[in-house]
Symmetry: C3
Subunit: 124 residues, 3 copies
């Protein structure tokens, strides 16, 4: 087992940003917050999506993995009506690669975030 | 990594129906919709469960896997009061095989569906 | 595939407490209930967290695994305002080990529980 940490993270939570077990990296739920300051995104759903996706990518980078390594993404959102925007930003971010995906509506996220994203990636 | 797709799916979403990494298949969240037409189930919870489970099975079929290969199922439902019906239909569907399972209440699902099911299956 | 069961569980649900596939154990969602009696925790969030975590640990024990084997935890809670208490109890429970983690707010859990916890652990 290998723990992946983001040195600059401002999180107070008891978790590693990612953990590798065998051929899989499990990335913790990444909220749409600035990981340096802990300040949540102050934009709309598209800005929240991009910030959350970029946070996921920071963890992948730290594990020397790319977006193409992502096997599955789980997107938690406070409003399923955001689906079209979520899908569009997500599609632009991943390009031709299409991981398995789950979109999970939730009542409210920490810090008032509109999205939280976790993923599983394959380690070669 | 191997991407599994359902040729006939009407989905506009940016995802593969399933992705295989190593010995595991990750099946995307399958809503209780007709995958050919995109029309959501118009029955009650039992019909929604069956449709969603059958959609999961289509992905397993496409990967040449059976229900007995399923390791874990995660069932999202818009009302935890459906638990008894969910459990009954699920039990009849899986027969003697009992994967690990999580039932997750959510406020509202896409297209007004009553359930969404994702799973992880073992590839031999 | 190896199914892990808790002989004494009072659950009526169609699931195994855990399932091992390859090098991973998938632990089912463990509610904050007494597994012998099926009676839900009657304390506050801290007691619910501890009961749910102890139930997860019972499954790990049954599979001869320790907390240090846990790769990822997913905590469902009925109120994200519980975050600080959840994090504190969780931190005391796991000690220095920090699995990947996701905290998922949900509208309502079965039996009125305040938390449900599932995890993935590595089998050596």
């Amino acid at each position: 087992m290998q723990l992946i940490n983001l040195g600059k993270s401002s999180s107070k939570g008891h978790y590693s940003a990612g953990v590798i077990a065998g051929n899989l990296l499990f990335v913790s739920g990444m909220l749409s917050i600035d990981l340096n300051t802990g300040v949540p995104c102050n934009g709309g759903i598209r800005e929240h999506m991009l910030m959350s996706l970029n946070n996921v990518k920071l963890v992948l980078d730290q594990a020397n993995l790319a977006l193409e390594n992502v096997v599955q993404c789980r997107i938690y959102t406070t409003d399923v009506e955001f689906w079209n925007d979520i899908n569009e930003i997500y599609s632009e971010f991943f390009g031709i690669h299409k991981p398995a995906r789950v979109v999970v509506p939730v009542p409210k996220l920490h810090y008032g975030c509109l999205v939280e994203i976790e993923c599983v990636a394959e380690v070669y």
